[in-house]
Amino acid sequence: MNTHSDMQAGQDTALPGPTTSKTRLVVNGTERVLEVDNRTTLLDALREHLRLTGTKKGCDHGQCGACTCFVNGQRVNSCLSLAVMHDGDEITTIEGLGTPEDMDPLQAAFVAHDGFQCGYCTPGQICSAKATLEELRAGIPSHVTKDLLANPPLSPEEIKERMSGNICRCGAYANILEAVLDVAEAR
């Protein structure tokens, strides 16, 4: 068992219970059973244990969106939850959306519209873009939705609002918008 130190109390405090857990995740359709340190975030479980490094660590604090992936169909910041909290959950990462040879339409649109530069925020942007289109289709309103009773439109304003949890320091926002609109209109 691990021992833990509480700096403020200045003394070690042993706590009951195991410090690792067996966690079952269904990742990109495949069941994966991991023995994880309880402190391991979902993000690090993906990146370090499963070596699915497409999900990025930009801030580890839920402030940039680079770690966005899907949990049970809903987009989340994977840095803000522990792997152990996701026992039994279905996770979809950027690797599950497409491959370089067989890209998802959004991935292809990001390439066509140059919706990225350094590429580090890109997987998170694409996951959020996919979720944005799904949320719009499901009629979930956003801050900029004017008529809460009607389905929100596939407008630039709605898309930009819903994508705003994903920071791109290279500033590819205008091209990302074009890519998302392109796919939205194709549907």
Binding site: S21, N38, T41, T68, Q74, N77, S164
Partner: protein, 277 residues
Amino acid sequence: MSYLAPETLEQALSALADPGPMRLVAGGTDVFPALGDRPLRGGLIDLTRVAEMKGIAARDGGWRIGGAVTWREILKTDLPPCFDGLKAAAREVGSVQIQAAGTLAGNLCNASPAADGIPALLALDAEVELASRDGTRRLPLADFVTGVRQTALRPGEILSALHIPVQPEGARSSFLKLGSRRYLVISIVMVSAVLWCRDGRIAGARIAVGAASPVARRLPALEAALTGLAPEALGAVTTPDHLAPLQPIGDVRGSADYRRAAVAELCDRALRKALHG
């Protein structure tokens, strides 16, 4: 670090009674960022699986919102117009990703002066339900948040639910927040208003302001001044006197004077928005 995921409130409370520093977590959207680059320590009790803390239910004419209910669930639930302000707040908490994980109860327990949920819930006259092994007590939200990052939560207690009392017929609400960028904003100030009319006059209003004092505050003088006004008369009604309960500070996001001026404007706008949508 040990990890426990109780499925009932009783299990959660008993885990909390164990010796050692136990930390409660639900969405994790405040707990993890607050660590900075420090590690997690002690034990973690994950409340997201606690049955009694799930779901939104109509009860006694009002509503019970479970302590593990996320902002996203608020947004997806069909609720009357008096919840529009809370829903608006829900849409402006962090990002959509944050809204999917973060809970209302966590926002209250974190007790940041800039907590997005508190003004809207204050304007709804919300109460908190605090469970412990000795039983359950209820507190008005205004009495629960006692200072910057301070609450009336006692050792061994869990904020198990929020209660929204029955609202006056036809009550409408709004929420506005101000920041220097348009999203992922830590609020400079925010205002939530609930108001209702009778016979073409404003019959009552509740207005709460966040990020302009250590704890979000209602503005009783403004609420009183509104009563009896014709909705058409709602122009610039907020005066400096109305803002007496506030003690804004100056920081990197704005000076105290700026906050005071912005609150007045935001109050007027929130009222108009509540009335006219």
